[in-house]
Amino acid sequence: MINYIPRRFTVVRDRELCIDCGCCVRQCSNECHYFSDDGKTALVKSDHCVACHRCVDLCPTGALRIEKYICDYRDNANWTPAYQQEICRQAATGGTLLSAMGTPKPYPIYWDKILLNASQVTNPSIDPLREPMEIRTILGRKPEKLTVAQKGKSTTEMPPQVVLETPIMFSAMSFGSISLNAQKSLAMAAKNLGTLFNTGEGGLHPDLKEYTDCAVVQVASGRFGVHKDYLKNSRFVEIKIGQGAKPGIGGHLPGEKVNVEVSNARMIPEGSDAISPAPHHDIYSIEDLRQLIWSIKQATDNKKPVCVKIAAVHNVAAIASGCARAGADIIAIDGFRGGTGAAPTRIRDNVGIPIELALATADQRLRDEGIRSSVSLVAAGSFRCSADIVKAIALGADACYCASAPLIAMGCHMCQTCNTGKCNWGIATQRPELTKRLNPDMMHERVENLIHAWNHEIKEIMGGMGINSIDSLRGNRLMLRGLGLSEKELEILGIKHAGE
């Protein structure tokens, strides 16, 4: 049987540096390294290399590197090698192409075309090392106004609120798509940082019981593990209508990743694909959503905010408005660049709109309708650095959901093969010999370091703008200017062009 496609990568071993210790042989789950018959020489077979860099990073002498395997096709701007190869794969399997993590296609990234302001003369900058910089964020429905008996004594009935010490939360990654050790690292980091992590639709594993106060639990279309106690053991509940990476379809956990623990948590047979239905089969209209929101509020004694997570699609502003009116306290909008454990390639790469535009229109629509204070907006869909987060908050987000970034902190190298369940870093796998590679005691420190660093950068940027509370950055579009954007894009983002 011939392969119609050349391999993707070549593992290159520098013989002068290689000490044949065999670390690479034992670490690669794609069997790219093996010993000669006498057990003395390490050899390479690059066929299944995915460029995860596990061998590269662990090699004690730095003898390895990964190269793209360049096997030239005739130049063709239309029939690129990628499209040709995808056809070959489908000809071999007859199946839909599956991919993992966010779309890698070169669509425009608006974060990279938006610039930030800084104070000069007319309003002084603030020194973040001398003055306190506040980034505490409160999510939840806010009443129209404060009612007081007198100064110092509030008589307002506040709906349930969630206090975060940073505007960054960890986005949904289910147990099943990632390992328990990875989820535990996120839970520990969330607890130490004063923020929340999201269980995704895989339920909350009993080992994470002590982190329920930092957990957002998801009620997704598959309703995995949803019962009263599940809802009670959380900080707030999130109804997942859609996900940015695959709008319109449900979650997908390939059978390779359904081991006995996942099978118990989700109540499905071991080894079977867990494919969540596309719609919630009891939400066929906005009134049904209202009903579900109210049932959840009742089941949690009205003590927890309810969040609705929607994918950023064409009419996202109207949909957000509908969700707010249906009783959602928090609306999470997931842009098309969001990550995923497994999604059909064509849907991941072609469906949805960028979070920058979705956030701006949703925020503006809610303001225009006078209901912006009735919900908190959480933005998701690829935040690569603290500057992206500052821009999102200035566009109107109350908080930002990050997932790929903390995974990269834990060792992910974006090889985009999570769906195979062979993650060499112990993140997107359930194989015990791989999951033991992720030590939560080490990894939670790395995630905390990342968020601490970002928090500090956010404070520095705010100080440069002359504001010392994130409340003054929220929705403050005057702090942003576009660069090289069209009239229409500037209009949708609601910002001026640099120089204006």
Binding site: E134, K145, T156
Partner: protein
């Protein structure tokens, strides 16, 4: 709105007239204390400031300012949260004085009973006598 003065006047008008807040509460909205301080307050004050900051987060004013607001309810003096501008207050009997510097006050009132520098997150509101019964200063 073209000037800072217009913005602050608009905020006060909106909070007092549309939202029905007392003047000193509206002042708290613009110059709310920091979370560090709020966390250390007693339960009632903590709830008051937390609710206030949660609901009116967008009305927090940045940048240095020293503002005196007069109305038929009384005289209010507020300073920005970081106390970047100077503002001094003084009282003698049933009179109150506000100025940038103490020396200015002493020209008019050579021996005030109490003199203090208005604190960043601590607005000073002096109600007019006639209204004292209705407002709690």
């Amino acid at each position: 709105m073209q000037t800072d003065t217009e913005v602050i006047t608009y905020l006060f008008d909106h909070l007092i007239r549309h939202h029905g807040l007392p003047v000193n509460v509206a002042a708290d909205v613009l110059t709310a204390p920091e979370w560090d301080e709020i966390d250390r307050m007693d339960k009632e004050k903590k709830e008051y400031f937390t609710n206030l900051r949660a609901i009116y987060n967008g009305a927090l004013v940045n940048g240095p300012f020293s503002v005196i607001l007069g109305s038929n309810k009384g005289l209010l003096a507020i300073n920005d949260r970081l106390k970047l501008r100077s503002l001094t207050a003084a009282t003698k009997g049933d009179r109150a004085y506000f100025a940038s510097e103490e020396s200015a006050i002493r020209i008019i009132c050579p021996e005030p009973e109490k003199v203090w520098s208005v604190s960043g997150a601590d607005p000073v509101f002096v109600p007019l006598e006639i209204y004292e019964k209705e407002d709690d200063g």
